[in-house]
Symmetry: C2
């Protein structure tokens, strides 16, 4: 995964509220950080704010802008990377936006776009805890749940870019409704909003819990997953029960991913995968259960194979840079 010695790429993390960009060298070091608010008044405004962020970070290289060979962007939504089109982004309010063509005309540099979870998986496999591994699963736990895999050292997209959509596998057909329209998807059972919703439902049923106090303090904005974590840390029985069940579901999803992909490691990323998170602890207890139940799983996998994502604040930028490098090489733009 080498660039020419002095080549640079730009990585851009496009979020619904902010855009972060930086210049990345062949060693994966990020410099020239730029952060600006995402202007979502219109598609044109949003694209202009992205271009503006890119121009600002390029300016920090001073006289070396000719060393910049490509631009990578991670976008929260459904992306067709070959056409360079974002088909749908709820956060950005986009539908069928030809991001690649627009930016390439504006900036006169090759641009590559991908879904933000895919970009995070690439970043971890280029620069993070999966560095140098050929066969890696990245599982993103946050508002949504999705997996992305690196196979034969490459991002594996599947036929429709939907490989790894484990978050929308139904685990419990009688479970809560998911935003995808199904009932009891993993995401509706174990993602952040699911934990909060479950807590509120139980409170409405009259369950006693510290969470009742948190709900009151929230002054109408409702509970969040963090409230469930905080209550569990203080020994609250309802919060512990909610996390126990979500942990079991997450463990089963890792079991499924391991049996399907037989990866070297499974990397946990996303907002809910912080170190010491009670959800991760609950998931580990669930993994122990499945290893006890299933000898084949025990033989091929271990707790040590589940790792937390290692890239911190620059994860989005570094991942987008990894995308630019991987795609440039595939298309022979770089040596």
């Amino acid at each position: 995964m080498q660039l020419e010695e002095d080549a640079l790429v730009v990585g851009v993390d496009v979020g619904g509220t902010k855009i972060a960009a930086g210049v990345v060298n062949a060693q994966g070091q990020v410099s020239g950080h730029v952060k600006l608010p995402t202007d979502i008044r219109s598609v044109e405004h949003t694209l202009q704010s992205i271009a503006s962020g890119i121009r600002s970070t390029i300016q920090t290289t001073q006289g070396s802008s000719q060393r910049i060979k490509a631009i990578g962007l991670g976008i929260p939504g459904i992306v067709d990377p070959l056409q360079g089109v974002c088909q749908l982004s709820v956060n950005l309010g986009w539908r069928d936006v030809a991001v690649k063509t627009w930016l390439e005309q504006e900036l006169q540099l090759p641009c590559f776009i991908e879904n933000d979870v895919s970009v995070a998986a690439l970043g971890e496999s280029f620069y993070g805890v999966g560095k140098g591994l050929e066969n890696v699963v990245y599982l993103s736990l946050g508002t949504g749940i999705a997996a992305r895999t690196i196979i034969h050292g490459q991002l594996f997209r599947g036929t429709h870019g939907m490989a790894g959509e484990i978050g929308h596998v139904v685990f419990d057909p009688a479970g809560p409704l998911c935003r995808c329209g199904a009932r009891g998807c993993l995401e509706a059972l174990a993602a952040g909003p699911a934990l909060a919703r479950r807590a509120e439902d139980e409170l409405q049923q009259g369950k006693a819990s510290l969470l009742a106090g948190f709900l009151q303090e929230s002054a109408g904005t409702g509970l969040r997953a963090e409230h469930v974590f905080a209550a569990a840390t203080r020994g609250d029985a309802l919060a512990e029960q909610i996390l126990h069940e979500a942990g079991q579901h997450l463990a089963y999803s890792i079991y499924l991913l391991a049996m399907n992909f037989d990866p070297q490691i499974v990397i946990l990323g996303g907002g809910l995968a912080a170190k010491g998170s009670p959800l991760i602890e609950a998931m580990r207890a669930g993994l122990t259960y499945w290893m006890q139940q299933a000898p084949v799983f025990r033989k091929m996998f271990s707790q040590e194979a589940v790792r937390l994502a290692s890239l911190q604040s620059d994860a989005g930028i570094a991942g987008a840079a990894a995308l630019a490098i991987a795609e440039s090489k595939t298309r022979s733009l770089l040596s």
Copy 2:
């Protein structure tokens, strides 16, 4: 996937009772068929009978034996293809047999070995219903259940050669014991022996069924999956119930494979995947259920994407030849 115009390879289907070998040309045509009983008196005897089959098929090429560039073998068991070692084959009575080294010394030709299900998947993707596709899942339904995938046009093995071991995923922790040691694996719920065992258990509980007659006629050898199929075809309620439940489990496994691998097609092979099989019909009903339940699955997959394996009697030989060609190319032995 071309060989030099006139190059040939030998494909060998090593079974517990018979060995089938043939010469395969660059177009995938099989000639010089040889079939002989597997001599399982000792490892040495078995290897000698394999070598003998290979020599016999090579002799059919008459003066052209120098055109033969490599030998591929499909083996029923756990195989380390890189080392060329069969780690375990219950059918052959093998443990840690260095097949590749032994045959290469004996025959003075490059030899490649793989698990027989992997070989079948390669064969379908080279010459069968998956020809030319980049992203294919092959699901083998027989005495065991296992999936193998072609990703980026290559056989995907995973870290320990265990990618696609969906047969040993626990679907029902309270279910019947599987030979792997777990309870309620897919294989223990839906493979051939599981259908027969379930039928016998129900008969013992006193259920009325045509299967009672079949069991009596079997004169102590017990029921087989074919008996359950035959009874279902004649409208037997117990047989239909057994197939309905197995079909639901198989459909869920295809749903899982599709969500994980987002394949162009899923190919069903193995002894239970014959055309018109009542098990396949039950599985299709299950797929319809999951498509109704899960909009994301419905969007990315269809009944038409489930196809029956198309290679018939030469499947094992052609698949082993495909292995020899794929591996020879990887290792630059062929142009």
